[in-house]
Each structure stands twice: as structure tokens, then as C-alpha cells.
Point group: C2
Chain length 222, copies 2
DNA sequence: CGAGTTGTTGACGTGTGTCAAAAGAAGTGG
DNA sequence: CCACTTCTTTTGACACACGTCAACAACTCG
């Protein structure tokens, strides 16, 4: 997690600085707006400058699985690098955001020029794959409570906590449910359970972890 | 899928031929033997020369999720390329197998030398990630029948069918269950259902798809 | 022939998704 | 400032898919 952030930041700001400035295309996105959708042809790749974004796969209208959240410094649309020519996922801004767009052909040609970057990018993919497979296992085997725990921990690791102890990210309950791979109402009851057991505290959309040990225990074996 | 096979074959046999011959280390594996286990320190990377292998994550003793199968020409242990220093998965031979071991330090140093290879490897990772996320969505949302359908289709795509129409791979029912992310007994009943509905035919461990359209339909939206 | 492994079926309990409705919250307009 | 939508949050009740347990059949193998 830390590695991922460092890598992207480093690369977005250092290795990519010239490239980005060369083909500078900052795009402002409104809250709730789609950046790209499942099925769209792949045209380029994005870096997040500002704002949080969710990457998700649709199920049947009003039902989805959120694969990851992207925040400042993260890469977006990198699955387009694979052999497919359409995005297999959608990206939606959770709030007003700014992304930097890089044309795919330009990006690709840069790959051949900078071997070091490709290696880092490959390592990033390897880590993402590892995360994905771990999450898959958990989604298959864990009961809802464990999945919710996993979701909270994951968000905490990615966004950190602010001074007041709350996680630095306020996901809509619906998004949290989609991230945990469960139904809206189930998420609710589970959150309440966790509050009752003094494992977490809620304040509006904010979440504070009170007993991380027991939270981790719910994802036992991870 | 086809791409993956081509790529690895090409690279294993072409680009990697000299490398492999330089550090030639063919290892013979017996049926059921572990090649590496979850938690082992990463020492190297493997290419499969002969035999089918399952890559899996353990749950709680006698319960696992199979992430993928590897066959002749496939790469193995590539998750070790990421930032972690231990394998997050296990690999077990389903039958007598031969793998080619390449020391990680040697492999890594080769990366810097061959930019083209790294790019292809990165593309491979991107595709794997895409597959993984698709599978994750299906495992979360699909009922058992759909997951079994998905498992069968996936195996068919990877191994193909022989002249008699049966899929060129005979997984143990237990492995099939682990691959579909369901219980042993549930898999049976589902397979029987599929047979009753004339969607597939069974003969021992062999599976033949009789009505691919309806099988695909079960994974609707895949 | 017994003993162990693998395949098969039955019965049961429960986690959890779904539906539906109540209770707030928040805007809208008179 | 109050009725009246409309949307979100919350709780209740229900049904059923599916995992678990247990018993049994079939089949290998010593």
C-alpha cells in the first residue's frame, strides 16, 4: 500500500513530469461524473491530481462491485494497457476531481523509452494482482461481517486517519456496501453490530476504528 | 487467454531460451507435490514444461480457493515479482510435472536487459489482473450455478477440447469446487443439474459442453 | 475381506439478500 | 411557517440458496 503510493507519486511527479507537461491535459470532473465506463474503447490513461474516485464493475442496474478507490497520486485506467481494447471497469468521481489524461499512444511509446519505469509499473501490477487475489479469497469465504471488516481496514490503510481518529475518507454507505460486496441493508446491520461491540464508532459518514485487533480478527487468516 | 498462451510460449521458448539454457534447472515434480507454498520466501520463478498445476490459497485446513491452473508453457510464481518477499499463494502439481526454475536474482537482472520482455510481462500482468477482477465480480454476485458455469468455461478456454468433444483437462471434483468457490457437495448437485438440463455431459472426470450458449447465459453479463 | 478413499444423496439450519414499510431529513412551494 | 413531496436511512419480516453434517454406496488397494 505504502509502496503503491510512493511509486505513483514518485513517478507521476518525477519520471512523468516532462511527459505530463509535454501533453498536458488536465480534466476537471464533477461529482458523480463518469470518467470512463465499462465497454468504452481505451484511449488513454489517467493520473489523479485531486479528489477521490471509485473504480467499479456494474452488475445489474443499481448493483455493482467496487474494485478499488483511487486518490491523489494514483493511476487510473491502467487495465487498458492489457491486450483488450475496451475498459473492463468504470471510473466515477466521488467528488469534484482533477485528472491528468495521457494519450495511450504517447504512453505506450514512452514505455519503450524508459525501461526503469516499465519495471516499476510491472511491479505495481504484480502487487495489484496480489491484492486482488487476496480480496477474492476473502469475498468468497468470509461472512459479511468479515468482508465489511476487510473493507474498513483496506480503506483505513489507503487513506489513513486524521488527528481526531476518524478515517480520512467518508464513503457513502452504498459505496461501502459495494466495496464489501454485500447488500445495502446487510452493511447497515453489520456496521451497527460493530458499533455495539465497541469495535468501531460512527459519526455521519465518518468511521473510527476503536479496536483494530478485533477488526483484524474478523478477517482471520488474511 | 489465447494471447496469454502465445506470449508465454513464445517467450519461454524464444526470448528465454538462452537464459533458460544458461541456468538450466529442470525440476521433476510428483503428483500432489507442492512446488512452493503460501508463506515461503520468494527465491525464483518457474516455467511449466510438462503437467498441469494448480495455484491456490488456503482457507482453513481442507478448504481452499483455486486461483488458476497452469499448464505447459505457463509461468508460475510470478507474484513473487511484486514488492512482497513471500509467496501469497501455493502451487501444487495435479500430476507428474516438470518445471524450469529460474533464480530470482538472475531473472531480475534479465529484466533490465530486455525491455521488450518486461513490456510483454507487464501486459501479461495487466491481463491477469483484468481476469482476476472479472472473476471476483462473478464470485461475489453469481449463484453457485453461474460460478460453476464460469469455472467450466474458463477451463475449456484454457485447455481446449479434444476430438471426442471432451475438455482437455480432467480436474478432480474437489478441485473444480475450489475453483468455482463453492462446497464439494454443492458442485455435485449443480453438475447433475447441468447434465439433466442437457447443458453438459460427464464421463468420469471428463466434461463435455453440449450447449455452450446456455452455459454462457448462466454467467450472463460476464 | 477389511479399510480407506472417492462419489452421492438426504436432511437441516442459517446467513444474508430481497421486499416492504416506517421514520427521518431535506427540499419546494404556497 | 406549515403541508407535501421526494429521498435517504433504518428496522422488520420472510424465503431460500447453500454450506454443513451425516449416512451410505461404490470402488480401489493392500
Amino acid at each position: 500500500m505504502r509502496f503503491k503510493y510512493l511509486f505513483l507519486c514518485t513517478f507521476c511527479l518525477d519520471g512523468w513530469k516532462p511527459a505530463i507537461q509535454a501533453s498536458k491535459q488536465n480534466i476537471h470532473i464533477k461529482k458523480g461524473q463518469l470518467i470512463f465506463a465499462e465497454g468504452d474503447p481505451v484511449k488513454g490513461i489517467y493520473f489523479v491530481y485531486e479528489g477521490n474516485i471509485k473504480v467499479h464493475k456494474k452488475w445489474d442496474d443499481e448493483k455493482e462491485l467496487i474494485l478499488r478507490f483511487a486518490k491523489k497520486g494514483d493511476i487510473l485506467g491502467h487495465l487498458g494497457i492489457g491486450s483488450g481494447d475496451i475498459y473492463p471497469v468504470s471510473a466515477t468521481a466521488l467528488e469534484a476531481a482533477v485528472v491528468c489524461y495521457i494519450d495511450m499512444s504517447f504512453f505506450e511509446s514512452s514505455l519503450t523509452a524508459n525501461n526503469n519505469f516499465v519495471i516499476k509499473l510491472m511491479r505495481f501490477f504484480a502487487d495489484e494482482l496480489q491484492t486482488s487475489e487476496k480480496r477474492m479469497k476473502n469475498l468468497v469465504h468470509l461472512p459479511v461481517k468479515g468482508r465489511v471488516a476487510q473493507a474498513i481496514i483496506s480503506i483505513k490503510n489507503q487513506f489513513g486517519v486524521s488527528e481526531n481518529g476518524f478515517i480520512n475518507f467518508e464513503p457513502a454507505k452504498l459505496d461501502l456496501a459495494s466495496f464489501a460486496g454485500t447488500a445495502y441493508e446487510s452493511l447497515f446491520r453489520t456496521l451497527n453490530d460493530l458499533v455495539d461491540e465497541h469495535i468501531i464508532t460512527l459519526s455521519g459518514k465518518s468511521i473510527m476504528i476503536k479496536d483494530e485487533a478485533r477488526l483484524l480478527q474478523l478477517v482471520a487468516g488474511n
